[in-house]
């Protein structure tokens, strides 16, 4: 069965102008993200993976090239269209969770659901990430893993087509990290959400359907993983 292309990147370059020097973060990058896959983008720091994620997530614009999301060129979007793209199509998970400290777990999720017309049920999503009993706790009353679960709930409650994780396990211990990865796979399977995880941790690639390896702003590897490993079997 031919896979549906969700996102297609066409010769994407990004150059940062740092006054005297120009830094080329991405160099003519071309690849496609298919609907429903779990993709891992691997690379050491400085390889351009965060830049790539920002551009894919509609938070930054490429210097050159085009990106088609379901056939629409998002590089041509104006500020409001980009905002709507982020609002309706993308969910973000950050390395540092980035929850609002003065809002409870439930309210942090509501922050996202209030933006869209057909969100998932906040309670169900929180129960789904294992926080049924702790919905009304403030972030400071939650462990790091629990905070990251809230962040994931916040990202998926909008029911986005694309879930982007920036080192989602970077700040967590091994066991919690594995649980979070398992949760991401579960979401991928149960909601059919396309998940893109960027990480420097090569072990995580074992659970992906597809892996892209970046180095110095260029794709150096792009392969399909015919037999993704369940998250709980990953070891690092």
């Amino acid at each position: 069965m031919p896979q549906e292309v969700l996102l297609s990147l066409n010769n994407i370059s990004k150059t940062y102008d740092m006054g005297e020097v120009k830094v080329e973060a991405l160099k003519e990058t071309t690849f496609e993200i298919y609907a429903g896959e779990l993709m891992v983008i691997l690379g050491p720091s400085g390889s351009g993976k965060s830049t790539l994620l920002n551009i894919v997530g509609g938070m930054d614009r490429p210097t050159l090239g085009q990106i088609f999301y379901r056939g629409r060129d998002i590089t041509q979007f104006d500020e409001m269209e980009l905002t709507l793209y982020r609002r309706q199509e993308v969910g973000f998970i950050f390395q540092l969770y980035n929850l609002m400290s003065s809002l409870t777990a439930r309210e942090n999720v509501e922050l996202a659901t209030e933006l869209v017309d057909h969100p998932l049920s906040v309670e169900e999503v929180l129960a789904g990430v294992g926080l049924k009993e702790r919905m009304d706790h403030f972030p400071s009353q939650l462990s790091g893993g629990e905070q990251q679960r809230v962040a994931i709930a916040r990202a998926i409650a909008k029911n986005p087509g694309l879930l982007l994780g920036d080192e989602p396990t970077g700040a967590l211990d091994y066991e919690t990290g594995i649980q979070i990865l398992g949760l991401l796979r579960e979401i991928n399977v149960s909601y059919g959400t396309t998940v893109v995880i960027i990480t420097h941790n090569a072990a995580i690639a074992d659970m992906a359907d597809r892996v892209i390896r970046l180095r110095s702003g260029r794709i150096v590897e792009d392969w399909n993983n015919p037999e993704p490993m369940p998250a709980e079997r990953i070891v690092w």
Binding site: T83, F94, Y97, M100, L115
Partner: protein, 786 residues
């Protein structure tokens, strides 16, 4: 409620003191706005109704003693609806105390057609020839007189006993002062008594005569045109002076008072709202900086710039609107009693107090404009934050060498580490430092303004009586005297210096502008009355030409070197062109001055004086008590007393202002300092981990604040001066002839304000110490929350 709104409420609740201070500032501003506006509006309406119901005259004419029939001829003019012939005369009255006050006797007609009296007690003595008198209530009260008491009118050395039959108020004497020079009512020494015309004709020995008229004009008639016509027509029939209602002393003064109140009701709240706006700007722009990551997340999640900005705008309105609503509420609660206080003070009969709710709208609108405007300005920072900010912690500010390091490296090398930390911290966070400095400067400036307002009247009195009018007493005579009187007076008291003066009314015209006023002529050699020109130099009185006080010059549109037209009944209606030799400063009241020679040229009157000014350490009032022909004796002390009494109300108001200034100062400093602590908890935590004690961190903050204090005091001084100038401009916006407010601020005021600012800083630092003590550095360091 939306999650973002919940966050907003929790943000405010988490820093109640900071945000509360802003709410209080706005509350007080709006309270002043609504209460003063309502008071002014009520005064206007009450005055208007009072005038209408009590048939306040449109024209007031002085005549020499003429047959009543002459005055009644005024009624033949078709513009005149009613005319009332009167006798008006200033006499002394024995009211049973050692000094006899001046009583202005005003005759009343049997049917009270014009300037009707408002009876507080008793009945008006309208029966022809009845030996009764109605006294102005304020005068009666000051002299402990009531209905049924007997007083003696002293006329030409003779006593005429009369009975007080009523205590009254009059629309003509709301502001009961002798002449424009007295400026403020002195109810103990000057009062008004109303008696029927036949009695007046008898005691004044003016059978069948009158010397004054009041007229009501037909609706829609131009009063000034009628006045000019009467002046012309009656020139040879004894008319001395005629003024319209607009120039009538009592009305002009009360009108000015209401205008002043209106200006205050705008100027003071503007200052409060301006300060609130500034604090809101500081709070929100820094909150936006502190919220970088949160803003990044919101944007990444799909919130638009507008939605995020409106989040912060809501914060501004969340502070502004409760402040406005509570302030307006308090203002309306206060308005009722404030209105009564003012009406009582001005002896306006309390007709009806009404609250005008239009000011609610005005207050809310001003608040929304001020707070919303600054909210938008401050939240602009949101635009510059990219959604990708959420991906990374904020980059550390670049570590740069401070200016001091670059300029004087040797001094820098000898500076201890903790001072280096302070100096580098200031240099690297110039914006934060600037805000703290602004905080101190604002607090300092507001205190300077309050102290200036507090000392303003003292300053005016000092300047007026210490520098310009250096005499101890001014004596006015009932009938003009010759210079012989000086010798006579010298024989009765020890007098250091004595100078005669002649005061006569003139109509002064320049183009279409004109003023009727009392001109005072003095010897050119006068030492007791000094004149200061616009540049602040003392100048002698010239033999030719006149001096005009600044307010008068402005209202006539004249400056030095211009010619003005002067005419008077004493000039027989003839107009003279006279040069203005200088515009002089007069802090209290207004005046036109000339030499006795110049007066002689204008009027032909020579060796005739209407009064003397003198310096003496004797109790002049007692010494001249028995002398006939003395109309009044005023000491500069009396004037100071009268002012002080008038100031009772002002002082209460200003004490409140000073207290509020302190509160504001504390709020501003506390805000800037505590925001800085909140921002720096991570930095302080790192220092704690490095081994700094709480005390050392507190020292760090204290030292930084010390620099801010110094910079704030230096920049606050000119700012304070600026506020004073603004305030005075606002108060004088309508062109005030009565007062000249110098904007000089005494060194003492600067010093006291500085001491108070330092005190506020100490209080703030005490609050900071609590914060530093409570700082949980481990939590602050591990924080992953925004």
């Amino acid at each position: 409620m939306k999650a973002l709104d919940k966050r907003l409420i929790r943000t405010v609740m988490g820093a109640k003191a900071q945000y509360g201070a802003v709410v209080i500032i706005i509350c007080i501003g709006l309270m002043i706005l609504t209460s003063l506006s309502n008071t002014a509006q009520n005064m206007l309406v009450c005055l208007d109704e009072y005038y209408r119901n009590y048939r306040f005259a449109d024209l007031f004419a002085d005549f020499t003693a003429v047959p009543v029939g002459t005055v009644l001829d005024l009624g033949k003019l078709r513009e005149v609806e009613t005319v009332e012939p009167r006798i008006v005369a200033d006499i002394r009255a024995d009211v049973g105390r050692d000094l006899n006050p001046t009583l202005r006797l005003v005759s009343i007609g049997p049917d009270q057609r014009i300037n009707r009296l408002y009876v507080q007690a008793g009945r008006i003595p309208v029966v022809s020839g009845e030996r009764g008198i109605a006294l102005l209530a304020a005068f009666a009260e000051a002299n402990d007189l009531t209905v049924g008491d007997k007083i003696d009118l002293i006329i030409r050395g003779e006593s005429f006993p009369v009975t007080v039959t009523a205590l009254v108020d009059s629309p003509e004497f709301i502001y009961a002062i002798k002449d424009i020079k007295s400026m403020l009512p002195d109810n103990l020494n000057f009062g008004i008594g109303f008696a029927n015309l036949p009695l007046m004709q008898e005691v004044m020995a003016m059978p069948g005569q009158a010397n004054n008229a009041v007229c009501l004009l037909r609706p829609g008639v131009d009063a000034k045109a009628v006045r000019d016509k009467i002046q012309e027509d009656f020139k040879s029939r004894g008319i001395k002076n005629i003024v319209t209602r607009g120039d009538q002393i009592s009305h002009a003064l009360i009108d000015m008072e209401i205008q002043q109140l209106e200006r205050m009701s705008r100027a003071v709240p503007t200052i409060f709202l301006g300060i609130a706006a500034l604090v809101i700007y500081m709070l929100i722009s820094r909150l936006v900086q502190a919220d970088r990551t949160a803003i990044g997340i919101l944007k990444a999640t799909g919130y638009s710039n507008l939605e995020v900005m409106s989040h912060y705008l809501k914060l501004a309105l969340m502070l502004g609107l409760p402040g406005a609503v509570s302030g307006i509420g308090a203002g309306y609660l206060l308005a009722g009693s404030l209105v009564r206080l003012f009406l009582e003070y001005f002896q306006l009969p309390l007709l009806e107090t009404r609250l005008y709710y239009g000011f609610i709208f005005f207050g809310i609108l001003s608040t929304v404009l001020f707070c919303g405007g600054t909210g938008i300005l401050a939240a602009r920072g949101v635009l510059g934050i990219a959604p990708a900010e959420a991906m990374r912690p904020q980059a550390a500010p670049p570590g740069k060498r401070s200016l001091l390091e670059k300029l004087v490296p040797k001094l820098w090398a000898r500076t201890t580490f903790s001072w280096k930390l302070v100096l580098r911290g200031i240099w690297r966070n110039r914006r934060r430092f600037a805000l703290a400095t602004v905080g101190v400067a604002l607090a300092y400036a507001i205190i300077i303004l309050s102290l200036y307002m507090f000392g303003l009247w003292d300053l005016l009195l000092d300047k007026q009586f210490g520098e310009l009018e250096t005499y101890d007493y001014a004596v006015s005579f009932i009938k003009p005297v010759s210079s012989r009187v000086i010798t006579e007076m010298r024989s009765q008291a020890r007098i250091t210096t004595i100078e005669p003066f002649l005061e006569l009314p003139f109509q002064v015209t320049r183009g279409w502008r004109e003023q009727t006023l009392l001109a005072r002529a003095l010897p050119t050699t006068t030492e007791l009355q000094r004149f200061e020109d616009e540049e602040g130099n003392f100048i002698p009185l010239p033999a030719h030409g006149i001096f005009l006080s600044r307010g008068l010059a402005e209202s006539l549109g004249v400056s030095r070197g211009d010619l003005v037209e002067m005419s008077s009944y004493v000039t027989g209606g003839k107009t003279h062109l006279v040069p203005v030799k200088a515009v002089v400063t007069q802090y209290l009241g207004s005046g036109l001055y000339m030499s006795l020679e110049q007066m002689e040229r204008l009027t032909g009157q020579k060796e005739t004086f209407s009064g003397v000014i003198l310096s003496s350490s004797d109790d002049i009032k007692r010494a001249f008590q028995s002398m006939g022909n003395i109309e009044s004796v005023y000491s500069s002390g009396d004037l100071t007393d009268i002012f002080s009494e008038y100031l009772g109300m002002m002082i209460t108001y200003i004490t409140v202002l000073v207290f509020v200034a302190g509160l504001l100062g504390f709020a501003i400093l506390y805000n800037t300092t505590s925001v800085s602590i909140a921002e720096r908890s991570r930095e302080f935590s790192s220092l704690r981990v490095l081994g700094f004690s709480q005390k050392e961190i507190f020292q760090l903050v204290t030292r930084e604040n010390l620099f801010a204090l110094l910079a704030g005091l230096i920049s606050g001084a000119p700012l304070g001066k600026g506020l004073v100038v603004l305030m005075i401009q606002a108060m004088l916006a309508g062109g005030d002839e009565m007062f000249y407010f110098t904007t000089d601020i005494s060194p003492g005021a600067y010093l006291l304000a500085a001491v108070l600012s330092i005190l506020i800083m100490v209080l703030t630092l005490a609050a900071v110490w609590q914060k530093v003590r409570k700082l949980n550095f481990l939590e602050a360091l591990s924080s992953r929350l925004t």
